[in-house]
């Protein structure tokens, strides 16, 4: 066992990378749930985003185009959820589960010819001088742009929900859709926008795995990250910064336990492997002990009766 082999700078830098897919997906789902919709299809939208982004990056040679494609792919798949739940008024839980299963299968089909290919890499942000700072430089300034996008998105969603009229209307729709309708707000339209935003974010998160974190394509490579993101939204009490905290915590424990495994710590691998889930959930359960704050209309079907 050699703990000195663990480099703290690399550790922190890589935990940020490990956390980003979860963060992206969670922020998207947070907006969806704030609008009163429970979309359990995050995993499916992520994996479709992952393969869309991967395929377009390989074909075009541009990771930027790839990420754009992944967002579009995720949003397109979420349109299926829109069709089921907002138009056909189907049950949201069942539709979300169906979306995940469909996404997993459909992505395998799409990805058949992409197995084993290495995608072109996205350049890292490299700011002369700043990136060269000792310790802080590699941690804060040496990452790919999408990682910063994830943090920026968290800040943007937080500000949007707290300070803007759009955010207020979105929360109102999630809180009491009948009242929002009576006041003349377009409940269904607002929810469709939120669902598509959630789909796009999940797609980006998926592509972050296939293009940056891993980077290659294998079937089912999101491996439950979408579910973690879903749980994170609940345990974060629908607060964006807590979602970020939870994602980084999960990413952090994941990276630490991998390092511990590599260092040969005398704890069975299975325990190490389950530790990120356990620790994240325990910490967030304690954080969310105050008012749960779930949007009151969450998961309820809206039907305008007139």
């Amino acid at each position: 066992m050699d703990l000195s082999a663990i480099n703290p700078v690399l550790l922190i830098a890589s935990l940020m990378v490990a956390a980003t897919p979860i963060l992206l997906a969670a922020i998207g789902e947070l907006v969806v749930e704030k609008a009163g919709v429970l979309n359990l299809g995050v995993e499916g939208m992520m994996i479709v985003g992952a393969i869309s982004g991967f395929a377009i990056t390989v074909e075009s040679g541009s990771p930027w185009l790839g990420f754009l494609a992944s967002a579009i792919g995720g949003a397109l798949l979420s349109l299926l959820f829109v069709l089921l739940t907002q138009v056909a008024l189907a049950n949201q839980v069942a539709s979300g589960l169906a979306l995940t299963l469909f996404g997993l299968g459909f992505s395998s089909l799409m990805g058949q010819s992409y197995v084993g290919i290495k995608p072109p890499q996205m350049g890292k942000l490299d700011i002369p001088f700043l990136t060269d700072l000792p310790f802080i430089g590699p941690i804060l300034f040496g990452h790919d742009p999408i990682l910063y996008l994830g943090i920026a998105l968290t800040a943007a969603v937080w500000a949007l929900l707290k300070y803007t009229r759009v955010g207020l209307v979105l929360r109102a729709v999630g809180e009491n859709h009948d009242a929002a309708h009576a006041l003349g707000y377009k409940v269904v339209r607002i929810r469709i926008m939120a669902i598509m935003f959630g789909g796009a974010c999940a797609g980006l998160g998926g592509a972050y795995i296939s293009l940056i974190r891993v980077p290659q394509w294998t079937e089912g490579m999101t491996a439950g990250v979408g579910w973690i993101a879903l749980a994170l939204v609940v345990f974060a009490s629908w607060k964006p910064w807590r979602a970020l905290l939870g994602a980084y915590l999960f990413g952090g424990v994941t990276v630490v336990q991998l390092n511990l495994q590599a260092a040969g710590v005398a704890i069975p691998v299975e325990y190490l492997a389950m530790s990120p889930y356990l620790i994240t959930i325990i910490v967030l359960v304690f954080l969310s002990r105050d008012k749960s704050g779930a949007p009151a209309s969450l998961g309820r079907i809206f039907h305008a009766t007139h």
């Binding site: 009229r165 207020l168 209307v169 929360r171 109102a172 809180e175 009491n176 009948d178 009242a179 929002a180 009576a182 006041l183 003349g184 707000y185 704050g293 949007p295 009151a296 007139h306």
Partner: protein, 505 residues
Amino acid sequence: MTTPLLSLQGLTKAYPGVVANDTVSFDIGQGEVHALLGENGAGKSTLVKMIYGLVKPDSGKMVLNGQAFAPTEPRAARADGIAMVFQHFSLFDALNVAENIALGMENPPKMGDLAARIREVSETYGLPLDPFRTVGDLSAGERQRVEIIRCLLQDPKLLIMDEPTSVLTPQEVDILFETLQKLRSEGTSILYISHKLEEIRTLCDHATILRLGKNVGECTPAETSARDMAEMMVGTTLQTPERSGRDFGEVSLDISGLSVPSPSEFGTALRNLHLTVRRGEVLGVGGVAGNGQDELLGVLSGEITTAPDAVKMKGQPIGKLGPTARRKLGLLSAPEERLGHAAAPDMSLTENALLTGSVREGLESNGFLKWGETQSFAERIIKEFDVRTPGPDNAARSLSGGNLQKFVIGREVLQNPDVLVVNQPTWGVDAAAAASIRQAILDLAAKGTAVVCISQDLDELMEISDSFAALNEGRLSAPRETTGLTVDEIGLMMGGAHGMEVAHV
């Protein structure tokens, strides 16, 4: 008054199977408080929804200040100066007062400025409100203030109020009326919908009466008796419930020295409660809402269990028994909250009939349900209590409040209880239906049932009860015979040691 503010001309709206409004025409004058009267299901709500742009009329037109007015959505109606306070408040519990108000405005100012304006307007109209309190923590009266102030901030020309007083305490009603008088003196017109005819007589300048979607007459409420208005609504002569002289039998229900904490965080604990009800007696329990009414019902129905001896029925201790066991013994109850407490909203009327009727009506055997008999039981309730619904397969949620009330009361009455406990039996029910519900309760008593009627409608209690007691902060006053009881005495009983005071702000 030269030109009317709003003129409705031949408005018609039909839904599948029912014509909600059939060529309705009337005018609302400038600065007039105009009452819209009608039984449950007479089409009042549909009519105001058309004025507010939530529903499009099939034919007919509206003229606002001399100009054609056809709002396609509430936003458009609000822009033209129409504001509406809803019957079921359209508020967002998790948001604060200022946010709720901002949502009802087209171009809300910044939160800080809005909060200042809310304070200013609310104090001008005598409806104080803290803009930063979360709406979920407010009382019914305070919530209504939020709605009213939301409307007032837009300087409405016409304020529509759909049964605004049904959830208010008498003191809150007084405050509301002062506000409305003030608005009228400033030239705002008000379209006022209510079942409470006495209220309309004191407040309104003019009344239009709807029956089965048609305008069947207009009157000046101050010059028309409540009885005449009720008869115009119903279309037939109204029967006042009659009670025959009754002899009371032995004691059916006996509570002595009962104290229980409230199961809910914001409830009122019952303190040292004594009451006895004899066979054939109707005990009226008055008092302002929130003084232990729900808890009293819970203790009697078996939802709150107590020490066995605290509650006795015909001498038998039943304090530990749950609702089903008590039903078996003949103690039935109908709580106040119709949707979610008295009835399961998404279940059909047949299923709802089964939920409380299975024990006494024998609607199940060996764990299997007898759907046929249940359905005929439900049909019997619908028929005898004149519940307006296409049939027993409809969901409880689909019935209007008054109709569902008739159903939940009828369901208990038809099971021939030995003791019946009802809370607000005619809440939100129109005059004719209320009279028939009261008659049914009196008929039951005449057959020897002991009835406990908890209500906030003092007129109702005076009409049907033999003795009267008031709940105040969880304490029950000593019951008095109703005959000869004066309003002042009742006021003292209700106020307890504290006297009446203006609603807490």
